[in-house]
């Protein structure tokens, strides 16, 4: 009996009820409301925004909680995207076939490192493993050498620049500036079919919700507390017997994998991936939504990212060249006047509300 009531208390604890309610609301909006209200074109746009928001979830964890200013997430987004695009090109070409652009610009032979992407299963696996391995190696090398703050930011940005330049230089194997495009099917499903497009949207929505759940679990876990401790006083953590480099590397790898999955889904939804989507400018673009929404919160990065993507589209429709100024102004205003992002407004208000009534005692969670 007491076990039951304890469990009930656990479920009804204020934080958890709110999270459950928010999650249910998001699911209803994404799965039921949006597909009904939005035209196929707008729905496809929203699907693209959701892919970009996946990158934001990871940045929120690494930057907001871990203090790692990841200015080069375009690299991991690009890795996931290009791996997926390579698979789609190979699948379009058929078994043993050669992607169209290779016959056009290259030798007409498929390079060895394209071959694994003929297999759908291997592609999905590599989309997770390649970014995880790169982020793991790089993170460990950088964090154990105690590179941090602005130096880490510059380093990660330089990586994004180098990655874009590398892609541009290899036109025969990566499509160069044009990138990879003109995909016809996604794992056997025709990409021009509206039903399949809607399916892709639903997949993106599901994956994003899953990522938010993963991020939430990481934030409320002991690891999440440790990550904040590393962000605020790295040396102190070291004197407690932890290796902060390991903690940071884990957060960095998780953010990289989330970015890569976002990139992989971006490709069939948008239909193109090019160096312009993975370089320095898009890497900073990923950050803007996170900063505006509130980097240290769970939902701030997601909502901020979607809002910024939406604003970008609508403003670009009205004033084709106005967006970049608007984006810069927004960024400056938020950093200068609202460093915690829009989420800090919500929090401030909530605190004012709770000041009026006595705060509810936090329920201790006991093992049932």
């Amino acid at each position: 009996m007491t076990g039951m009531t304890d469990r009930l208390h656990t479920l009804l604890a204020p934080g958890r009820t709110r999270a459950l309610a928010g999650f249910a609301l998001a699911a209803v909006l994404l799965f039921a409301v949006a597909p009904v209200l939005l035209s196929p074109f707008r729905l496809s746009l929203l699907a693209k925004f959701l892919c970009l928001a996946m990158v934001a979830v990871g940045i929120g964890l690494a930057w907001g909680r871990g203090g790692l200013l990841t200015l080069g997430q375009g690299v991991y987004f690009g890795l996931g995207a290009y791996l997926m695009a390579m698979h789609l090109k190979l699948a379009d070409a058929g078994p043993g076939g050669v992607p169209d652009f290779m016959s056009l610009y290259g030798t007409g032979e498929v390079p060895w490192w394209w071959e694994p992407m003929r297999s759908p299963a291997a592609t999905v696996l590599l989309i997770v493993l390649v970014p995880a391995a790169l982020a793991g190696l790089l993170g460990w090398a950088v964090f154990t050498r105690r590179v941090r703050g602005a130096y880490f930011a510059i380093l990660s940005q330089a990586l994004a620049a180098a990655f874009a330049i590398l892609l541009i230089g290899q036109q025969q194997t990566t499509g160069g500036t044009n990138g990879l495009n003109g995909f016809r099917a996604f794992f056997g499903y025709d990409l021009t079919d509206p039903v399949n497009q809607r399916m892709l949207y639903l997949i993106a929505a599901g994956v994003l919700l899953l990522m938010v759940l993963v991020a939430r679990q990481l934030m409320v876990s002991r690891f999440g507390e440790l990550l904040v401790a590393v962000r605020d006083a790295e040396d102190r953590v070291r004197f407690l017997g932890y290796n902060p480099a390991a903690v940071k590397t884990v957060a960095y790898v998780v953010a990289a994998v989330m970015a890569a999955v976002g990139g992989a889904l971006f490709v069939p939804i948008v239909g193109i991936i090019s160096p312009a989507d993975v370089g320095v400018v898009p890497s900073i673009g990923f950050l803007v939504g996170v900063a505006i929404g509130g980097r240290a919160t769970l939902l701030g990065p997601v909502l901020g990212s979607i809002a910024v993507s939406w604003a970008q589209t609508s403003i670009s429709e009205q004033f084709p060249s106005g967006w970049i100024y608007f984006q810069g102004a927004l960024f400056i205003v938020v950093i200068a006047f609202l460093p915690g992002g829009l989420a800090s407004l919500v929090r401030r208000r909530r605190r004012r509300d709770s000041a009026a009534s006595p705060p509810a005692p936090e329920l201790e969670e006991r093992p049932a």
Partner: protein, 284 residues
């Protein structure tokens, strides 16, 4: 290392009459098997920054039950010595604790070997609660599966530490809003749950009120009977009240060592602290 130190035995300290509750006993006595050779042994330790020798061939032995104070004028090398023992700055020579050589190892590995320290300015995790601070301090040996789960309940050692340092009522308070003295106590509590059996405290009572100093002194005395404690301190009154023994450093060297009375009457120490001519005149 067969030559055991010959300095003060635990007998030097009298059993504490005041409230050593069961919680305190349980916490302070944790895991004695890991540290059967509980003493710090520093031999020929030297720290140089460029051409400047900050710590010059220091020998130091501190045993359990001997609450050792480390004093000296500014720039004597006290904090640098602690930095060297905890791996923050490179050093030559030897510093052993529990039979393990500490020099040349990573800071977090030294911490796992049971060496803990505090800083002149209290450094707690300001955005986390008192409980979270202690929970993190207790967790350096946690595996991934524990880390990835939510904190449920409070580890026993954390509960005991909360009681011992008197922060039980403030457990859910954000550490950033604690008073200065409370932050220092939280730091001491973190060392206790971290299972540090060599505790190096850098000016723990600086900025405290008289009442807070007394409470801290009693706490240190209690801890010192079970663990090896070295306190860097400038406050002479605090030193006279609570030190079992004193090491005086000056210009990177150990100038004198002994009980408070011995050190106070040491002409070299008097000279350093009061100025040569003055004392010479008086003694003449």
């Amino acid at each position: 290392m067969t030559d055991l130190p010959t300095t003060t035995e635990p007998a030097a300290i009298e059993p504490e009459p005041d409230t050593t509750g069961p919680a305190a006993e349980a916490l302070l006595g944790t895991d004695t098997s890991r540290f059967r050779h509980d003493y710090l042994e520093v031999r020929g330790l030297r720290v140089t920054f460029g051409g400047f020798v900050a710590v010059r061939d220091v020998d130091l032995t501190v045993t359990q039950g001997d609450l050792r104070f480390l004093i000296g004028p500014n720039g004597a090398g006290k904090t640098t010595l602690i930095d060297a023992i905890t791996g923050l700055v490179g050093a030559t020579g030897s510093a052993r604790f529990g039979g393990t050589e500490l020099l040349g190892r990573g800071t977090h590995r030294i911490a796992r070997d049971g060496v803990g320290r505090t800083f002149q300015t209290a450094s707690v995790f300001e955005e986390l609660t008192v409980l979270q601070n202690l929970d993190i301090a207790a967790g350096a040996r946690r595996g991934p599966s524990t880390l990835l789960r939510r904190r449920r309940g409070t580890p026993e050692a954390v509960e005991q530490a909360l009681e011992l340092v008197g922060l039980g009522a403030l457990r859910d308070t954000t550490a950033g809003v604690l008073a200065h003295g409370q932050k220092q106590w939280l730091e001491i509590g973190m060392l206790l749950v971290q299972d540090a059996h060599l505790m190096l405290l850098d000016e723990p009572v600086a900025g405290m009120t008289q009442a807070e100093r007394e409470a801290t002194g009693e706490l240190l005395r209690r801890i010192g009977s079970q663990r090896v404690v070295v306190v860097v301190e400038h406050d002479m009154e605090f030193l006279r009240s609570y030190a079992d023994s004193v090491t005086v450093m000056h210009q990177g060297r150990v100038l004198a060592e002994g009980t408070v009375a011995e050190v106070q009457n040491d002409p070299a120490v008097v000279e350093v602290y009061l100025g040569a001519t003055h004392t010479d005149d008086e003694e003449a």
